[in-house]
């Protein structure tokens, strides 16, 4: 059904269509609309789920863990301070191999208080064992939320998935999008290690070092296994519903000399920058990273690379730029831009390409 709404609303509608059994909810700007919408659906009966109004994000993830442990489908949403407040439970949920799905509205972390878009919140949770995907349109928010359940719950994966939307820029923008009837696109959840009263076990008891090590290894196996699962899920999605997604998005890359790489809404806006640069005769292309965990390594052979990070690891650098550097061996021009919702336009992005100095870091609007 063609409809019109915000990124938040698209996530909420996709969750409704995926039919979770338990939703744990805690408000935080700019995500709140998601949990408000879900409250509406549960109240008006369009979603037959238990809605748990928790008292904090540590508890929202805890409630999802408790529910998912019994083998049911669960969802929650958060942002920024909420995400880092539940950090311990992110580690716990992935370690317990629970296929929880969560939307995170990317927002900066205080102090001072700032509610603008920034990826540092989710980026700083990249070691927790959660899959992370960054979306760039309301439609993608809807589609990826649906797919997230199928990917998380796949028995080769069994890891939680975090869908990241740029705060305000995407959560609050109203766009056209199409909803679908997922039918059997998401198979019934069947968590193999769900609690079974008839086969009692001690979950997460003390584990000796060598064994613990093996379970950690197995989390990584789940991560690696998720790559084909994502591809297959995206292919099936395209088959059924006609919209195509790939591990990463390419734009005018065929003959590009210089490639701009970014995640989230920058990842769409930079297409405009590419068009502008092409008109100037610069053979630019763009790659929008969608999955950040598992890390997908694009092919950047011999191209100049400009990476825009809407995040920062203090004492180290932009995380996307550096992780690409680690995996691709490229020497990107690392642009730090948009933290705290700093305003960045396609003109600015085009300018990053014009002024690029490979191997250096540039803070937009501060460094000269």
């Amino acid at each position: 059904m063609l409809t019109f709404g915000t990124g938040n609303k698209a996530v909420a509608m996709a969750v409704r269509d995926a039919k979770p059994v338990v939703v744990a909810a805690y408000p935080i700007t700019p995500q709140t609309e998601i949990v408000e919408e879900l409250a509406n659906y549960v109240t008006d009966g369009s979603l037959d789920a238990r809605y748990i109004p928790v008292e904090s994000e540590h508890s929202s993830m805890a409630a999802c863990i408790g529910a998912a442990a019994t083998g049911v489908r669960t969802f929650t949403a958060t942002s920024s301070h909420g995400l880092v407040y539940m950090c311990e439970m992110l580690h716990m949920s992935a370690g317990a191999r629970l296929p929880i799905v969560m939307a995170n509205a990317n927002r900066s972390i205080g102090p001072g208080w700032n509610i603008g878009a920034e990826h540092t919140d989710s980026i700083s949770m990249r070691d927790t064992g959660w899959l992370q995907v960054y979306v760039s349109s309301v439609q993608e928010a809807y589609d990826v939320t649906l797919m997230a359940f199928r990917i998380a719950e796949h028995t080769d994966v069994l890891l939680p998935v975090m869908i990241n939307l740029d705060g305000f820029l995407l959560t609050h923008i109203t766009q056209t999008f199409e909803t679908v009837e997922p039918d059997d696109f998401i198979p019934p959840i069947a968590t193999p290690h769900a609690i079974d009263i008839n086969n009692p076990g001690g979950y997460g008891t003390l584990t000796p070092g060598d064994t613990h090590f093996k379970f950690r290894r197995d989390i990584e196996r789940g991560m690696q296994a998720s790559i084909p699962v994502i591809e297959e899920t995206e292919a099936d999605f395209a088959r059924r519903f006609g919209r195509e997604y790939h591990l990463y998005d390419e734009y005018r890359m065929e003959d590009a000399d210089v490639v701009i790489i970014a995640m989230g809404t920058f990842g769409k806006e930079m297409e405009v920058a590419v068009d502008i640069l092409r008109e100037e005769g610069i053979r630019a292309g763009a790659i929008r990273m969608r999955w950040f965990r598992p890390f997908i390594t694009p092919d950047l052979d011999g191209k100049d690379v400009v990476v825009i990070d809407r995040d920062y690891s203090f004492g180290f650098g932009g995380v996307v730029a550096n992780e690409l550097q680690a995996k691709c061996g490229c020497k990107p021009f690392s642009v730090i831009a948009g933290l705290g919702g700093q305003e960045v336009t396609y003109d600015d992005i085009a300018e990053f390409v014009r002024i690029q100095r490979p191997g250096t870091e540039h803070w937009f609007g501060v460094d000269d």
Partner: protein, 322 residues
């Protein structure tokens, strides 16, 4: 089984075998408790561990259709080491601060699927009164259908006996080497403020009373809470054979009152009925524990005062004045 047998014919090739056993009253009293053990021999707990003792009766009362949710505490550790466990029930081990919230999710999920499975949080005082109070308070407020049991050994025992909010005034711990200067947090009053459908206290020294309360609690839908005193030999510094004795002294001195509150009605239970009227001196309890070695006379007087006030308050509630 010991005792005389008589054999009675019951039909063709069928007989009743009747075993005549003479049991003293104590034994008959506890006959209603099932023989089945859900704590297999044995946990890796210290000899004389109150948590193991309490859990024996909690699980007997709860039966097989039960999940225990256990945050970090002695009990998360004493189950044994992967790949085996001493607990013959599903046990979900969770983060220190998260027990009641995990239980909320679990209970809602079970109920949504039409299952009646008991969800029981079994948590230490630290995991309840300090780091866990946010989750507990939230779960009580939103009416989660579960039973929360706090076994109170009055310290962070798992990490080696540090002060908790439940540590009583004057008690030495490794972080209060001079004795605690603050009062024990009144967990029961905090929980009562949430008006759970069922609230009770119990004590490791009175397994029958404990069993009865768990059994009753699990028949009532909604949030239930129990606070169980758990005298811990290494934590309180007394010999391992005194665990039960220490619990009895606490009750007899009125420092710990056994009661239950159902539909707002308070009932004093078991040994506390007598203690409401006549109590042994508080010193009889304090002096036999190494942790109170440095307690001052003023602190002892303070404790006495608290005991008397608490008893008076409970009596008023029993009398329907409050």
């Amino acid at each position: 089984m010991h005792g005389m047998r008589s054999i009675l014919p019951a039909g063709p090739n069928q007989y009743f075998i009747i075993i005549h056993v003479k049991y003293p009253k104590e034994r008959l009293d506890t006959m209603a408790i099932p023989d089945e053990e859900f704590l297999l021999k044995t946990t890796s707990a210290c000899a004389g561990c109150p948590s193991s003792l309490i859990l024996r009766y909690v699980t007997k009362a709860a039966g097989t259709d039960t999940v225990l949710v256990i945050p970090a505490c002695c009990t998360s550790v004493i189950q044994g080491v992967y790949p085996t466990t001493a607990m013959n029930l599903p046990v979900y081990n969770v983060a220190f601060a998260s027990a009641a919230a995990v239980a909320s999710g679990m209970s809602e999920a079970f109920r949504a699927e039409g299952k009646k499975t008991n969800v029981i949080c079994y948590a230490g005082d630290g995991g309840t009164i300090d780091i866990g109070i946010q989750a507990l308070s939230g779960a009580l407020e939103r009416g989660t259908d579960f039973l929360y049991i706090c076994y109170d050994n009055e310290a962070y025992s798992n990490t080696g006996m540090q002060r908790s909010g439940a540590t009583p005034l004057g008690a030495m711990t490794t972080t209060t080497p001079g004795g605690k200067k603050d009062h024990k947090k009144d967990l029961d009053a905090i929980v009562a403020a949430h008006n759970p459908v069922y609230q009770a206290t119990a004590c490791a020294a009175y397994p029958q009373d404990l069993y009865n309360k768990v059994e009753k609690a699990l028949t009532i839908p909604g949030p239930k809470f129990m606070h169980v005193l758990a005298p811990c030999p290494p934590g309180w510094r007394f010999p391992s054979e005194k665990t039960v004795e220490m619990g009895k002294l606490a009750v007899k001195a009125g420092l710990w009152v056994l009661y239950e509150r159902e539909n707002g009605k308070l009932t004093i239970t078991g040994a506390s009925k007598a203690a409401m009227k006549k109590r042994i001196p508080v010193e009889d309890y304090l002096s036999v524990q190494g942790r109170f070695r440095k307690i001052t006379a003023e602190q002892t007087a303070e404790i006495k005062k608290t005991v008397e006030e608490n008893i008076a308050r409970l009596q008023r509630e029993v009398d329907g004045i409050c």
